[in-house]
């Protein structure tokens, strides 16, 4: 890095600074919502979950699925997808493939049923092109909104994905330029923030947070931009070059193992036996089951497992759907394990951070917070260096508004979800509540007389929002603490306690900041 010329260092500094300034606030939004999305499972169960004694895919479901199959249009019985809900419910999506008139692209058309896996009771039914209707396949509008905000900034496909892909590339540019600019990387891992709140103190804070989160930032930027560009640019471009534009042919070549076609009617083998055998073959929890060509002799059952303890890659076991025999472990992509398949398989667990259960997700969450600090401290550093110029002073206030307003708006979305879930459509009111929270935060930030008065106001609002959520959840009919303890449902209790602690922390910090200001005035 010290071999770079002055001109090269100047260019790298410009790349680092301007990539951060032009896209930093959007990047912060993606990082902050991504940090929340790491705990999407917990958020889903906290917001919309019911009591579950066991994972719904751990209990016998064969009879439930066969009974459900008799309730749907036979034209929808080509394939079946099965996954769990937030409580002891499962979703069974019976579908065929047709052109979606809304998009003009091939899509899944069918009937989706939500069942109680234990009792077999039918809870909900929807029909059509199901993936266009999030309410049909996701029990938590709050989790869906936060994930969608992270994945594509709640913009329509493919534009949102292209924007987040560009943000991923910008983050990668900032990481690489920051690394190349660094003269003393090892020393900066242990730099102590100089006291006094000076410009060098801000630099120390930025450098320290950035140095420690450097590898993580690169991995997230790389995997994130891959995830965004794969379906919008990569696969469509390569389908047109290598498969004459036939997306389905490419999909079949990449993701479907070769099989001998045989449309002879044959009943599906016992799903419970298949799942039990799959769990013996791969210890990680079952997350998704797909039955292809249901009712035919060439039926196949794919069983997806999360990574087992000590592993990183997902495991997919393939079964003969008619005979129930194990056909082997299915690579994530292609007909046999390969370098490309392994790299592809690493992208998702490395981005989501769930390869080692709550331990890895906690680390990913903490590093996500660190990246938020890196982004915001970099923006503050830039604006402090240019303090006095009206445009940069205004931008500095915008940074504060977004920095505090985004978490406030996310909490407002949770409030909107809990208020609307009992009697209205939470898939409508959750995003609107986010907008209302963002608008309120913006008004607070704009009318504040100076930046010093912003922090106590935002902390008060955040404290109230955090403290009120567990109370609102209970008032809206959510699981009580007694039930959560009695039935060992740790997610609900954990999120409630964390919200209460966060609320207390925000309000105490605000009071302490106010007391310090008074003492300084005296």
């Amino acid at each position: 890095m010290s071999r770079l010329s002055q001109a090269q260092l100047r260019r790298l500094t410009a790349i680092h600074g301007w990539s951060g300034i032009t896209l930093g606030l959007l990047l912060y939004t993606v990082i902050a919502t991504g940090t929340a999305a790491v705990f999407g499972g917990e958020i889903g169960r906290w917001s919309a979950g019911g009591i579950r004694a066991a994972d719904p895919l751990e209990v016998p479901i064969d009879a439930r699925i066969r009974a459900a199959a008799t309730q749907v249009d036979p034209a929808h019985l080509d394939d079946i997808a099965i996954w769990t809900g937030e409580g002891r419910d499962i979703y069974a999506f019976f579908h065929t493939h047709a052109e979606n008139p809304g998009t003009g692209a091939p899509d899944d058309l069918g009937t989706i049923l939500r069942l109680d896996a234990t009792s077999g009771e039918f809870l909900e039914r929807n029909e059509g092109f199901i993936w266009d209707q999030p309410a049909a396949w996701d029990g938590s509008a709050l989790r869906r909104f936060l994930v969608d905000l992270h994945v594509q900034l709640y913009m329509p496909t493919p534009w949102g994905l292209i924007v987040t892909g560009i943000l991923g590339l910008a983050m990668m540019a900032a990481v690489i330029s920051g690394l190349l600019m660094h003269r003393h990387l090892l020393r900066d891992l242990f730099v102590a923030e100089r006291p006094g709140g000076r410009l060098v103190s801000a630099r120390d804070r930025h450098v320290l947070a950035a140095s420690w989160s450097l590898p993580f930032a690169f991995v997230l930027a790389f995997t994130g931009s891959f995830l965004s560009f794969a379906s919008t640019v990569g696969f469509p471009l390569l389908a047109s070059i290598a498969f004459g534009g036939d997306d389905e042919a490419m999909s079949a070549a990449l993701f479907e193992p070769p099989f001998a076609e045989d449309a002879t009617p044959a009943p599906l083998a016992d799903l419970d036996a298949i799942l039990a055998d799959s769990r013996a073959q791969a210890p990680g929890p079952v997350t998704f089951v797909e039955v292809a060509r249901f009712g035919r002799a060439d039926a196949r059952v794919h069983v997806w497992h999360d990574p087992a303890a000590g592993g990183v890659l997902y495991v997919t076991n393939l079964y003969d759907g008619a005979a129930g025999t194990f056909l082997g472990r299915q690579p994530q992509v292609g007909a046999a394990p390969s370098v490309g398949g392994t790299l592809y398989g690493l992208m998702y667990p490395l981005h989501f951070g769930h390869f080692a259960g709550i331990a890895s997700r906690t680390v990913w969450g903490a590093l996500g917070v660190a990246l938020c600090v890196v982004t915001l401290s970099g923006l503050h550093l830039w604006t402090r260096r240019r303090a006095g110029a009206a445009i940069w002073d205004g931008f500095a206030r915008s940074v504060d508004i977004v920095a505090w307003g985004l978490p406030l708006a996310m909490l407002a979305a949770a409030w909107g979800f809990l208020l609307s879930a009992p009697a209205a459509n939470p898939f409508v009111w959750t995003p609107w509540s986010f907008v209302a929270g963002a608008a309120a935060a913006t008004i607070v930030g704009v009318v504040a007389p100076n930046r010093r008065s912003l922090l106590p106001r935002y902390r008060r609002l955040l404290g109230i929002a955090c403290l009120g959520l567990p109370i609102l959840r209970l008032a809206a009919g959510g699981m009580s603490w007694a039930d959560a303890i009695l039935h060992r449902q740790p997610d609900v209790l954990t999120v409630d306690i964390l919200l209460l602690l966060a609320g207390i922390w925000f309000l105490r910090r605000r009071r302490r900041a106010g007391r310090l200001a008074l003492e300084a005035a005296e």
Binding site: G168, L238, S338, G340
Partner: protein, 111 residues
């Protein structure tokens, strides 16, 4: 070499020379162009051509999957090269050669 080939070679040298002159006359604009659209075109051309020269691997799909998985690097390498290369005409020649060569491969394969 026929007269036609010689004529094309001379014309290419003249165009290259003229472009080199423009690059030297406007280095900042040239750097922006090379690090921006040129790097993007180079990355797209490389991604499009990879199935033609990358082996398919044991799974029969590496030529496609690697092109997609490595998308961020396919952009980052020409971008940082364009930002750090001190000789702008050399940078332009490298990116142009990379882009045109791979685009030609794709055109021939699809034609």
């Amino acid at each position: 070499m026929t007269a036609r080939h010689t004529g094309a070679f001379v014309a290419a040298r003249r165009i290259g020379g003229a472009l080199g002159g423009v690059i030297v006359a406007y280095p900042r604009a040239a750097r922006w162009f090379l690090a921006g659209p040129a790097a993007l075109l180079a990355s797209l051309a490389t991604m499009a051509a990879m199935p033609l020269w990358l082996p398919a691997g044991a799974g029969g799909v590496d030529d496609i999957v690697l092109a997609v998985v490595l998308t961020p690097l396919l952009w980052a390498v020409p971008f940082f090269y364009a930002c750090l290369e001190p000789e702008l005409p050399r940078c332009a020649a490298m990116l142009a050669g990379l882009t045109l060569g791979q685009a030609l491969l794709v055109a021939v394969a699809m034609g």
